[in-house]
Structure formats: C-alpha cells, structure tokens
Symmetry: C2
Subunit: 209 residues, 2 copies
Amino acid sequence: MGITERKEKQKTELRRMILDASMKLFVEQGFENVSIRKIADLIDYSPTTVYLYFKDKDDILFNLHELGFQKMAEYNEGLWDIKNPLLRLHKMGENYIKFGVSHPEFYDLMFIQRAPMQSIEKMVDCEWKSGDVALGRLKDTIREGMDKELIVKGDVDAVSMAIWSMVHGLVSLSIRDRFNKLVPPDAVLPMMTQALNWLLETIDLTLKP
Amino acid sequence: MGITERKEKQKTELRRMILDASMKLFVEQGFENVSIRKIADLIDYSPTTVYLYFKDKDDILFNLHELGFQKMAEYNEGLWDIKNPLLRLHKMGENYIKFGVSHPEFYDLMFIQRAPMQSIEKMVDCEWKSGDVALGRLKDTIREGMDKELIVKGDVDAVSMAIWSMVHGLVSLSIRDRFNKLVPPDAVLPMMTQALNWLLETIDLTLKP
DNA sequence: TTGGAAACTTAACAGTGTTAAGTATATTTG
DNA sequence: CAAATATACTTAACACTGTTAAGTTTCCAA
C-alpha cells in the first residue's frame, strides 16, 4: 500500500507547512497578526484549505502552545543534574523568568491567552498535559527540599502553587507592561530576580541557625 | 453664557452614555463582545459618532479600566481602620483575590489585557496612576510591618512586588483557566487562599519565638 | 473509460475598527 | 432678517477578520 502511505505523508507534510507558517507569523509579527488568510498566503493555498487540516484557529494556536512547552523544556535541560533541591528550585525559577521575558509571545499562549485552553476543553482526553508535567516537577523538587529539611515545611500543593503563581505573576505583569510605569525599564528584570530570590531565601532553612 | 454651558453639558452627557453602554455590554457579554457598532446601537447613534467622543476603542477600554479601579477601591473601604499591618496585609490579599474572582472582566482589563496600557502610552502625563496608588498602599503596609518588627525585613520594593505578583499570579491563572485541569473546580478558591496564607505566615514574625 | 472519492478553491456571510466625505442643524456675523 | 460659518451627526466605504456552503479539479480504482 505505497500509495496511501505517500498520501498520508503528503497530508502530514501540509499540516507541518501550516504550522510552520503560523509559527513564522507568530514569532515575527506577534499573536494578533496571525490570521488564517496570512497563513494561507504564506503556503500558497486558499484559506479554506487550512480548515481541512485544523478544526479552527484555536486548534492551530493550541499546537503552537505545545511547541512553546517544548521550547521551555529546552531551557530546563540539565536541570535534573542538580542534586540539591534548593539550588534546583532556584534554577527553575530563573529559567522560568528567562524563558518568559525572552519569548513573550510563547509565554502569552502558554499561560495568558484564553484561546488554546478552549481548544483543550473540546479534547476530553488531554488534561493540559504539558502544564501538569511542569507543575509536577516543581512539586517534586519542593517535596524533596522539605524531606531533606532544606526548606520550611508546609502543604506541598499550596507551596507549589504559591511559587508558580509568583513567578507567573512577575512574568505576566512584565509582559503586559504593568511594571513599565512603576520601575525604570532596565530595572524590571533585576527587580524580578530580586523578588524571586527574596522568596527563596525566605523559605531557605540553610540560611537560618 | 448659558448656551455654551448647556452644550458642554450635553457633550459630557453623551460621553457618559457611551461609557454606560460600553459598561453594560462589557459586564453582560464580556470583553470581546464590546464593539463600536454594538455600543452605537445601544445609544441609538451611528458608530462614527462614538469617534467624536473617544479617540478609539482603546480609549473607551481605558475608561472602563479606571472604573475597575474604583470598584476595587470599594472592596478596600475600611481597610485603613485596621491598625495591625499584618492583619491589614492579610485583608488586602483576601480582598484582591475576592475582587479578581468576582469581577474577572474588570480584572482582565486592569491587569491582563494589553489594550488599555497602549492608551496610557499615548497620554504622557498619566503614569498608570491607579496602579501606582494601589501598589503604594501595599508598600506602606509592608514597610510599617517591618518597622514594627511584625514581618521579616527585606527590600520593601522587592517584597511588595513579590507579594503583588503572587496574588496576581493566582488570580490571573485562575481567570485564564490554568488551574481547572490541575485542581477540582470548587477547590481552586480555597487553594488560592491557602497559598496566600502560606506566604503571609512564612513572613510573619509573630508566629516564631 | 468511467464513476466516485479526495483535495482544493471560489464566493459569500457576518462581523470587526476606522475614516473620508457629505448632510442637516444651530449659531454667529454682516 | 439673510448669508456664512461652525457644530453635530450620518452615510458609505475600506480593509480586515473567522468561517462555511457549494462548486471545481485532480487522482485512483473498478
């Protein structure tokens, strides 16, 4: 069945082309400049063809959103070589902030925009796997830190949510320009790391007698 | 000069009507369902008339955004009767979360959407006054807590940013449904307050010997 | 060779923000 | 009082958006 195989290949190829074109537009021109017509123009197909490969625009955005998680994972390569959970937690936070400010468009899609989550609503089997995995790693690190008596004890779920929320808060307020009028532009990033460091020092048991 | 006065009055009246109509649409149908044409329909004027009273759509959204801060201030009435800065900080956090989950549309406009800030860019004199004031009150409370040795000392700016970012993180992740797939729906709010409590207990000096 | 399925396009619907140009209405001026 | 001007508002259009029903072309199997 070489023919149907080749057909299948061509189909996945065009799917890839659509995603690549979306990605190109997304990275170069930002979220709100990705339109079905622009994508179609870029790959020399009619706009309606896009709908033969993706349910709707949200479906495309969801796929880009997944690519964002892949990109974020790249930032965290070698993270698990760090055996000290406190140091690892530090690095996790730093990487999170670095990723966010370096790829605001992706961060937007992954954690701010409503769009891709509506796509997830429709696909019952997916439970925001990417986000779940990332949070799971945070939880594990915090649990480990508590077990080894390196950080103050507390409900692992609550502490994880608190820490994630704080770094997300920093990144999202920065991306959406809520610090701009309060802090000089070049002081935003230092302030963010300072805030992160403060939190991690506060829960650091090794700094206290 | 009774005539020009009356004219002036009529102008501000129509301005109010436009804002009221926008508000109605905004509260009843959500952010993305506010359109110039719908506003115009509601007040029985042509869409172009709206542009005689507001520069563009962002200008209208900025005004709604300001109303959001007013609404938030209502939540914090009587806050300054609380003399204990630690208790006040607690209440501030609680109110912030309560406001966010009760008025997600307003919260969106005030702290998540990009739109109203672009309007601020254009108006040089305004330095996001509303946001600045709110953060100032947080800073004052934290400074007071540190001075009275009720909370652990640290850089006031960094600590304020950290705490604000955390509650913003909680609210914005909740509004944008990032907790939905990780926590049962009715457990989201308790988890948020738990996370807040954890942070405030961690910096509370009165709980330690 | 022909029938039918698969792949793709055309044309349209219903909506968006925004603006140039035109029309009444009301006020001021000669 | 009549003509000129300024104010308030509308019509009609432009250039977009996501999406879909219907039509066309291409390709493969019987």
